[in-house]
Symmetry: C2
Subunit: 215 residues, 2 copies
């Protein structure tokens, strides 16, 4: 019976995700759902992306957190529209939360919407938001064995960003080993190395966004 | 209605947690529930603890992961009893999973049980296991702002371990700022600095275990 309830919730979410997708397509809007563990660098990546693309592409950001508006405040300093969703305990964003957030965004003025999901390598993977692409960040200090432990998230990603590569020298993280593990369960996802601290690889990431989202 | 279902599940879990607690007390067993984000160092901390206390205290380990048995294999090399729980998608351990695992452990021969929860800074906080103490690990690369974003986990912790302090020099993490944020919502928890890589602070952690669990 519990499984039935979970299935019902997921089915309701998928219907709402399809409604979001219809809105995004009608408005010509590309949407990226950025997921990772807590502290892997989602906000930093969004900041770098906004700094490089604003002025070229109309952008907005949705920040998902259980509580606080720390991240939205950081983003708003870059003068792009941002909506903070506080899930109030929920461990993931769902399509209904995104649908309600759309009312607060200038949809006619933007072509790219970046969504920062709640920091969690498990639950956000189960909830489609209607996004164009799912981007997964794994940071170097988390270790290169995470594919085996959190396979769903790695299997659904369109792109895996290995962030904090400036810390590679101080850890035993092996990017080749990680890439091999991703390949074994996901032939589609590219793996890119980035550092939001040094800026390494950010150009490649921005190029990926432009190429894969038709911007 | 959804809220009702969640409440029912949590209530069932609390009942099972009380049953576990009764078993632990009857057997004179101290139990630590170790929680953190993915890759913060739960397994490394358990390995360090086992290496220092085995021979002095009868120990066993329960490893919780969505899938794989990588961590249990590492622990078993230390010649302590270990049970791997694969949650099969569930984002946390619950009291029922622990109850079933007890059948596979030599309860009469151990005084300390270390439980590694699923890597997740949200959901495990909602599920009591019947444990004696909840220990939360936050690793330096995750950033010192996590208390505001994941307040439940920090509010229920009996101890916060700041792990990977060997990386402090390469980040903007401020242990004092973190400690202040913890203090604001949790006056009970101590905050200790450790590095499972260099061994710094591990003696203090082991002393905490011995003092707080009466070992």
């Amino acid at each position: 019976m519990e499984i039935k309830v979970v299935k019902d919730i997921l089915s309701v979410n998928d219907q709402m995700a399809e409604r979001n997708r219809a809105v995004f397509e009608a408005k010509g809007l590309s949407v990226i759902n950025i997921m990772s563990s807590p502290g892997s660098g989602k906000t930093s990546l969004i900041l770098e992306t906004v700094r490089r693309l604003k002025g070229k592409v109309g952008m907005a950001v949705v920040e998902g957190d259980i509580s606080s508006s720390i991240d939205a405040e950081k983003i708003s300093q870059e003068q792009v529209p941002v909506v903070q969703i506080n899930t109030g305990g929920e461990c993931h964003l769902d399509a209904g939360m995104i649908n309600r957030a759309l009312d607060s965004l200038p949809l006619d003025d933007i072509r790219l919407l970046l969504i920062e999901n709640v920091g969690n390598l498990v639950c956000p993977g189960e909830f489609n938001l209607g996004e164009s692409k799912k981007v997964l960040i794994l940071s170097v200090p988390e270790g290169d064995d995470k594919v085996y432990k959190y396979p769903l998230m790695f299997s659904i990603a369109d792109l895996v960003l290995v962030n904090k590569v400036d810390l590679l020298a101080y850890t035993r993280f092996d990017v080749e080993r990680l890439t091999g593990a991703v390949r074994a369960i996901n032939q589609r996802a590219e793996v890119l190395r980035v550092s939001c601290t040094t800026g390494e690889g950010i150009d490649d990431w921005v190029s990926w966004v432009q190429a894969n989202l038709g911007l």
